[in-house]
């Protein structure tokens, strides 16, 4: 799940603004691309995206987390240029997205981008197969070829046999599988998902999240994933960007965000998060002290909730090894207990 740190950014935006209620010409931009904030005081002017700078590396999942009205959906639409940003730059693999002509933009979408929508946005008059094949048809692919490709995609998302059904005949989860298959049909490098699982029931949502991780482990796309669900963000993200009122409050790995929230707003989300679900063994281990160790070891990337049972059942400290099997530290039982029961410890201190 972790992305190689060295790869170049695939998506990069700098000082991005989307201001509703004001013409782009009215925005006064300083040298760094920042807009004079006085304009936001004007009646009816809303900055849905306010000075956002982000980059997404190849193969990375960036989850943009924010509540409704925080501007996350507008942001992803600026990155795919479904909405024209008011000011700022967006680069896709080093090319300036905002300078592209209509023709180039269409070409880019036909070859590099896929998007999944909150309410599925399936074409009601087309069958599952025709929906999945739609982007391929737009590309002018031959019939036999797109049918074969669409079939493969439908199989990939586990909907074999539903080819000739209409979207209305499917459940919500199945419909979103179609949406996912459609967005993957052209084998895009960049995958935008706009709250893809928000309209689904909790159980189906969990199933779809696992499905998403399974797909990503096979495909390794560069992903911008929008959600309002902090738990979902923690579960899926390589990095999380927390948005509030159009601004990005903090960007960082899930563990970072939970352990070191940058603002009060972010802290509100993190206070209830079970630490063991976010932190991995590497984050809380002690340096190796040469003492007696348990028989089995754990990997540094494993999450605490996955290893807790074993560590707590062991009298001796447990060795933590890296991917190469080398011991990099040890995990003590009381450390794990502290992570699992932070409040119990607090209440013990107060009389």
């Amino acid at each position: 799940m972790t992305a190689p740190e060295t790869s170049e950014p695939v998506i990069r935006c700098k000082a991005l603004y989307k201001v509703f209620g004001a013409e782009p010409a009215e925005l006064e931009v300083d040298g760094a691309g920042a807009v004079d904030p006085r304009i936001f005081a004007r009646d009816g002017v809303v900055a849905a995206v306010n000075n956002v700078s982000l980059s997404v590396r190849r193969g990375e999942i960036l989850v943009v987390m924010g509540l409704s009205g925080s501007g996350k959906s507008t942001l992803v639409r600026c990155l795919s240029r479904l909405i024209e940003p008011s000011s700022g730059t967006v680069e896709i693999e080093g090319r300036d997205l905002l300078a592209m002509s209509e023709r180039e933009l269409i070409e880019l979408r036909r070859s590099k981008m896929g998007m999944v929508f909150q309410h599925f946005a399936l074409l009601p008059h087309r069958t599952v197969l025709e929906n999945v094949a739609f982007p391929l048809q737009m590309r002018g692919m031959k019939r036999a070829e797109y049918v074969a490709r669409a079939r493969k995609m439908i199989e990939l998302v586990g909907l074999d046999g539903k080819d000739n059904n209409f979207p209305r005949e499917l459940s919500g989860g199945q419909q979103q599988r179609v949406g996912i298959a459609r967005s993957l049909a052209i084998e895009p490098d960049i995958w935008f998902l706009d709250e893809p699982f928000s309209a689904l029931d909790p159980l189906i949502r969990k199933e779809m999240q696992d499905e998403f991780l399974r797909l990503q482990s096979m495909l390794g796309k560069t992903i911008v994933f929008i959600t309002h669900d902090f738990d979902e963000a923690l579960k899926l993200a390589d990095r999380i960007a927390v948005m509030f009122n159009g601004r990005v409050e903090q960007v960082g790995a899930p563990g970072d965000i939970v352990l070191r929230p940058a603002t009060d707003y972010v802290r509100k989300f993190t206070s209830d998060v079970p630490r063991e679900k976010v932190l991995n063994a590497g984050a809380i281990m002690d340096p190796p002290d040469g003492g007696e160790l348990a028989e089995r070891s754990v990997r540094a990337g494993e999450r605490i909730d996955a290893v807790a049972e074993y560590v707590l059942g062991e009298r001796r400290p447990v060795a933590v090894v890296d991917d190469g099997g080398k011991t990099v530290g040890v995990l003590h039982r009381d450390h794990v207990i502290k992570i699992l029961f932070p409040r119990a410890e607090n209440s013990g201190e107060t009389p």
């Binding site: 269409i106 979408r109 036909r110 929508f117 909150q118 309410h119 399936l122 739609f134 982007p135």
Partner: protein, 664 residues
């Protein structure tokens, strides 16, 4: 105060506002009664007919008719528009000839022989079966069988040929304008008022400029039909495109659609339901107008009906009327079934299975063609074999006249003497300034200065154009008819809505009755009351009551289930639930129904001039027979403007009320 002027009075002050307005109007009427009203506030110069010359004196303040005359003839003669219209006329004639030939044979068009009726019957039945099933198949077959057996085959085919020419053209124009309006706000802003006027302008008022521009004949009927049928298509196309969820459009863009692909592959198909509903509307409007276009020489069932009605052959008229009604119901059924048809995408069917219905149709038609060679009756039903029951109808009418005429006459006199005449005289007595104050004041209360200017301006046009008294006579008939419609229609709707099965039956009958071309409603009324002023009003009531019932049922049905459960749990009885919940919540929708009733009444009252009225409609008929374009259009506008004022006020109120109830 500024708030008021911009948006109308806040709801809690409205009762007082209306009261004050009524007091003002009453005061103005009293002033006139007392003889203190200056003449220029009471009455503006009007047209009046000079009996000896049969002409009309012109001393109105705004000679709109003469102006329009000049403009039209300038366009036609000086700008050379006539060359264009002649060309359009000729091309359309060719098109109609082709369809005429395909259905009726003869030397025009491609010069084919006429197909036997039995072959068309077979095709129609297969079509009905393929689209929906046995019921529709029998309806289509029955309709054609009726037309063939009652000796109306030729006229039916003429009507169908006109439809075949008018419907596709209307759909195409409507679709194009709808798309343009969707793409360009300016086009929409320009189209909306034109369409509002076009939809409220009486049918007959259309015919006059069309006759002047395009001459008389089939093709003129088709042109009038197209103009009449395009607005609903535009509206529904626009509505459908607007309703496409933005996500779907975005999904199309992300799939890499170009603009054309986005429109044709994503947006139009997603708006399919509304667009197909538009097609259905176009077909029904076309049928209604094709019947009325008989007045300017369009052939077919309408022409035949007009002919027989003018000769007061009630029995034969009814026969034709039934044919038209059957045709309307069958066409409505077919187009609806087509619109609702689930398309079968299973592309892997064998060829034979995929084309089984077309093959069946061709096979049956070929069989009929062959059979018709040996049994000529299957080719043409000869005149002496045609079944006619006109005599039965005539006998029934005679029986009614003989046995019921005393009672009916007494009823008629009572109504005229005690209600209609006093109401009419009261409206005629009203000084025009009082009426302007009333509509303008209502505009101010409900919508602010813009509404006030609009409504009073529209009425002022009528006063200035010199048709005030005629307009008031039209208004009195509409008011009375609306009153009766609401009195009967709304309680009927409420009663129907009390039980679900009854409600769906009521909606079914509303649907069915609404497909009948409006002209048809005159028939039963003439049968009972002969030709006189009361018949006209009754025809209006019978026609205009449909929306009152329909909207009431719909409004009551749309009250959310949760609210029902909430008031039931609060311990409401059936009656309390009706009064406390259903009526208040359904009221905005019911008012829209009343509005539709008024619109229907305005349109029907002009058609009813055919059976004798002395209002604007009568003058429009005269203008039509004189081909007096300016006068006809101005009269049409007078009707349209009254209707639009009412429409503006009621829809405004209803929309605001819905918003207050949180129902949007």
């Amino acid at each position: 105060m500024r708030e008021w002027l911009a948006r109308g009075m806040p709801p809690r002050h409205r009762a007082r506002g209306v009261l004050a307005l009524c007091a003002l109007v009453a005061l103005l009427a009293l002033l006139k009664g007392a003889g203190w009203m200056p003449r220029f506030l009471d009455e503006l110069p009007q047209h009046f007919e000079t009996a000896d010359t049969g002409g009309i004196s012109h001393n109105e303040l705004l000679p709109a008719d003469l102006l329009l005359d000049r403009v039209f003839y300038f366009l036609l003669d000086d700008l050379g528009l006539s060359a264009v219209t002649r060309f359009v006329s000729r091309s359309l004639k060719e098109l109609i000839n082709i369809f005429d030939n395909m259905l009726l044979g003869g030397g025009k068009g491609f010069g084919f022989d006429a197909p036997p009726w039995s072959a068309l019957l077979a095709v129609a039945m297969v079509l009905g079966y393929a689209l929906r099933g046995w019921k529709l198949s029998l309806l289509c077959g029955g309709t054609l069988l009726y037309c063939a057996l009652s000796g109306l085959w030729k006229f039916t085919m003429q009507t169908l040929a006109l439809l075949a020419a008018a419907v596709p053209i209307s759909i195409l124009i409507g679709l194009l304008l709808g798309i343009l309006a969707y793409k360009r706000r300016a086009v929409e802003r320009a189209l909306l008022p034109v369409m509002s006027v076009a939809q409220t302008l009486p049918h007959f008022a259309y015919l006059i400029p069309v006759v002047v521009f395009f001459g008389v004949g089939h093709q003129t009927g088709v042109i009038a039909t197209i103009i009449f049928a395009v607005p609903p298509m535009v509206r529904l196309t626009l509505l459908g495109l607007r309703k496409v969820p933005p996500e779907i459009t975005e999904a199309g863009k992300m799939a890499g659609c170009g603009n054309w692909q986005l429109l044709t592959r994503v947006q139009l198909p997603s708006a399919r339901n509304e667009i197909l509903l538009g097609v259905n509307q176009v077909i029904m409007q076309c049928l209604a107008m094709v019947v009325i276009a008989a007045f300017i020489g369009a052939s077919g069932l309408g022409y035949r009906l007009l002919h027989k009605l003018q000769a007061l052959k009630i029995g034969q008229s009814l026969e034709i009327g039934i044919a038209i009604v059957l045709l309307a119901v069958a066409l409505d059924g077919l187009s609806r079934a087509w619109a609702e048809k689930k398309r079968d995408y299973t592309a892997n069917l064998p060829l034979l299975a995929r084309f089984k219905y077309p093959l069946l149709a061709v096979g049956l038609a070929a069989g009929a063609l062959l059979a018709a060679r040996y049994f000529p009756v299957l080719d043409r039903v000869p005149r002496d074999l045609a079944v006619s029951y006109a005599a039965t109808w005539d006998a029934l009418v005679d029986w009614i006249v003989i046995n019921w005429s005393d009672g009916l006459d007494a009823f008629r006199y009572f109504l005229i003497l005690n209600i209609l005449a006093p109401l009419r005289d009261a409206l005629l007595f009203m000084p025009y300034i009082a009426v302007l104050a009333l509509v303008g004041g209502l505009g101010l209360i409900l919508g602010g200065w813009y509404s006030a200017l609009l409504t009073s301006g529209l009425f002022a046009f009528i006063a200035l154009a010199g048709w005030w008294d005629r307009a008031m006579i039209t208004a009195y008939m509409v008011i009375f008819a609306t009153f009766i419609c609401v009195l009967i229609g709304v309680p009927l709707g409420i009663w129907s809505a009390l039980r679900e099965s009854r409600a769906s039956r009521a909606l079914f009958w509303c649907d069915t009755f609404q497909t009948f071309p409006s002209f048809i409603y005159i028939l039963p009324v003439i049968m009972l009351f002969q030709v006189n002023d009361l018949s006209a009003i009754l025809a209006v009531i019978v026609y205009a009551i449909i929306p009152a019932v329909r909207y009431t049922v719909e409004g009551m049905r749309n009250v959310p289930r949760e609210l029902h459960e909430a008031v039931t749990m609060a311990g409401c009885g059936r009656w309390q639930r009706l009064v406390q919940l259903e009526l208040p919540v359904a009221l905005p929708h019911i008012m829209l129904g009343v509005n539709q009733t008024i619109m229907f009444a305005f349109s029907m009252v002009i058609i009813a001039a055919f059976v004798g009225t002395i209002d604007l409609g009568q003058q429009i008929f005269k203008a039509l027979s004189e081909s007096n374009i300016g006068k006809g259009v101005v009269l049409g506008l007078c009707v349209s403007f009254m209707a639009l004022s009412v429409d503006h006020l009621v829809t405004r109120w209803s929309r605001e009320r819905r918003r207050l109830l949180g129902m949007d």
